[in-house]
Symmetry: C2
Subunit: 409 residues, 2 copies
């Protein structure tokens, strides 16, 4: 296998991968207030009606709607005020025909009332009576019991990514603890004799370990926990030992591959030896990122990413991020995207996905995407890019001036 690239399209490679990898998300219970951007691991069933009392949406007078029918400024309805519903408490007021009670926004509507007249549409006659100058319909300005959510309703499904308003929704129901998916531990191994840690001076022929740090940040954004296993030298037994240790300790392995062919051959062999079924795809029809390895080793996903930073990031988004999300029991996060006009022709070939780095520029009120060309070895191609344009499998390219979707970094 080591000499042959079994090149697959990204969808075909992912389909094969998903035949062999069946994530089993683990759950942990945490305080709701810490659950922002976590993934719900259980269905959330409402333990109560929300609201659990009839609530006024305005400041005004609770009334029996029929008492106001036909009321106008010239011919107002005259009602007797029997009291005020206090905020934050149940009221034991009970309206009879021709009666009203003062209520505040968010306050409880007394028994017997079925609507609330806004205070602006009333006029106080004396301490105990008002005139209503506009009719209200049955239910007007009242939130009914259970109108927001009913007891027993499923309010959130397992796999739901918890957003700020979901925190509010949980807290509204008194749900102060939630069961969320445990973030997968993702082992990151960098390889190559030329790669040095970032805090060391480098000499000619040496580069610093860019990919471990870029990939760690990408893992964090996808919802995983990155664990850096450092830099492994170009040596088969060293790589075998490091990969076996990571395989035993982590939930996923990401190898940022050494760049030479001999090294790539070695790493595909090492990955294949980690467990069953082993390497599933070696080579993707995608540019950049062709020398990618997808494997499953005894239930642990293993990815061999190209050493070039641009390729590594493209492939991370394409195969690693969706796998982390699947391990969390959820889908991929939506990427921010904008539409822009392409600044120049981009050629592609049918049967290959192309991912082109672009920066954005406003010209006379229109947004333009300017391809950031640069060898994919150059990290500043990525730093200078605002986003990525995808040229799909069946396309031969995009012409200058066409509108494209830019996925923002």
């Amino acid at each position: 296998m080591s000499e042959l690239f079994t090149v697959l399209t990204p969808p075909a490679a992912l389909a094969l991968f998903n035949q062999h990898f069946h994530p089993t998300p683990c759950a942990e219970r945490i305080p709701t207030e810490d659950a922002l951007d976590r993934v719900l691991a259980e269905p959330l069933i409402s333990p109560q009606d929300l609201p659990n009392f009839r609530r006024s949406t305005v400041d005004g007078y609770a009334v029996y709607a029929e008492d106001t029918y036909g009321a106008t400024a010239g011919l107002p309805a005259f009602l007797t005020v029997i009291g005020e519903a206090p905020m934050g408490q149940a009221t034991d007021l009970e309206l009879g025909v021709g009666e009203a009670a003062l209520v505040h926004t968010g306050g409880m509507v007394p028994a017997g009332a079925n609507a609330v007249v806004m205070v602006e549409n009333t006029q106080q006659v004396d301490e105990t009576s008002i005139e209503v100058m506009k009719p209200v319909a049955d239910g007007e300005n009242v939130i009914q019991i259970g109108e927001d959510i009913r007891t027993g309703d499923q309010v959130l499904a397992p796999g739901h990514h918890l957003r700020p308003q979901d925190m509010g929704g949980l807290v509204a129901l008194g749900v102060t603890q939630v069961s969320v998916a445990v973030p997968p531990r993702v082992a990151i191994l960098s390889t190559g004799d030329e790669v040095k840690p970032p805090d060391q001076p480098i000499g000619p022929g040496q580069v610093r370990d860019i990919n471990s740090y870029t990939l760690s940040a990408l893992v964090t954004r996808a919802g995983g926990v990155p664990i850096r296993y450092g830099i492994v030298p170009d040596d088969r037994s060293a790589l075998e030992a490091a990969a076996a240790k990571a395989h035993a300790e982590a939930d996923m392995l990401v190898l940022s591959a050494g760049s030479s062919v001999s090294y790539r051959d070695m790493s595909v062999d090492v990955i294949d030896g980690l467990g069953e079924p082993g390497v599933l795809a070696h080579g993707l029809s995608v540019r950049p990122g062709k020398p990618t390895i997808l494997a499953v080793a005894d239930g642990i996903p293993v990815f061999g990413l190209p050493g070039n930073p641009v390729s590594a990031m493209v492939i991370f988004d394409l195969v690693v991020a969706p796998t982390i999300r699947a391990m969390l029991g959820t889908g991929t996060l939506p990427k921010s995207q904008v539409e822009a006009r392409l600044d120049r022709n981009i050629a592609s070939i049918s049967g290959r996905e192309d991912y082109v780095q672009v920066r954005l520029e406003e010209r006379e009120g229109e947004r333009w995407a300017i391809p950031v060309f640069g060898k994919s070895n150059l990290i500043y191609t990525l730093v200078n890019a605002d986003g990525t344009v995808k040229i799909s499998l069946d396309s031969n390219g995009v012409r200058a001036g066409e509108w494209v979707t830019v996925y923002l970094h």
Copy 2:
């Protein structure tokens, strides 16, 4: 002031606010590896050339390009191999005319060579000689010194939001510590006699404190540090004391206002008394969210948000989030957005911005946005929404079937 709404359009209110609020971001030094999604506080100048040696982008032979001109499979160029450039070290090989040296991807190109022939385009003759079957141009397959970044280049500007690839870019230059903006501490005060902490049972007339938790999560997402000051009862001196404490301790105040008119009047007075110049806008021409207060009190921004969760979130995005970003010395974060066809007419009036909650649905390959109607008091209007559609100030509404931009939650 308390009785009068000085209603402003959101742009006018923000312009007035920005006349009186001049953020002065503070900086702190942290390890680069912890700086994901932080905002750079200083210009980042490259301390070195990147790469700092001539690097091969392929596996092959370093050559003097002229030696390969005219080479074909039928009439190859014959070169003497003088050695192999080792990975991770400087090479002291020096090519003369008619000579070549083995190099690996990422390895150093020896002196005298000006290009690299891919190994696929060569044939080994014996231990010390090869045939080159395809010419290379001067510079081909070689990254020049400083081609990525040059010493003294500004690689990132202050105010830059650090993304995964920026981590890589910093590490590539040996920058292991960076100066980033200190996140502003945002005090969140909830108010109302009817509001109870989430871990307590509620009776009729009572609701749990939704907004403190939704707002905390929104502050976190915007890059601030939320500090919850709990629930203040509907009592002027209690509100004055809590607001004064928060004003002394935090960098920004967000009050989630009590819902009744009398309470709103009280809170505008209390906010106005916190410092100079005081309340700048009371009421925005936006739906939902009209009863919003914008103030600056002795250099501290203070926002009074509507008590309704939907309104509070709309107004947070509109005025609070941009202010937090300004305090970090940067712009607003791009929101994920998608285009969708609107499912039904939405009426608006010219001179008012409308924000409509929608959920998304695929119908026959097209994406549709279905307005989630619901009283703005209902938190599950937000929980059930996938995003927001904005109807701009000068629009009278949008017709069913039109394409709109949906800003995802």
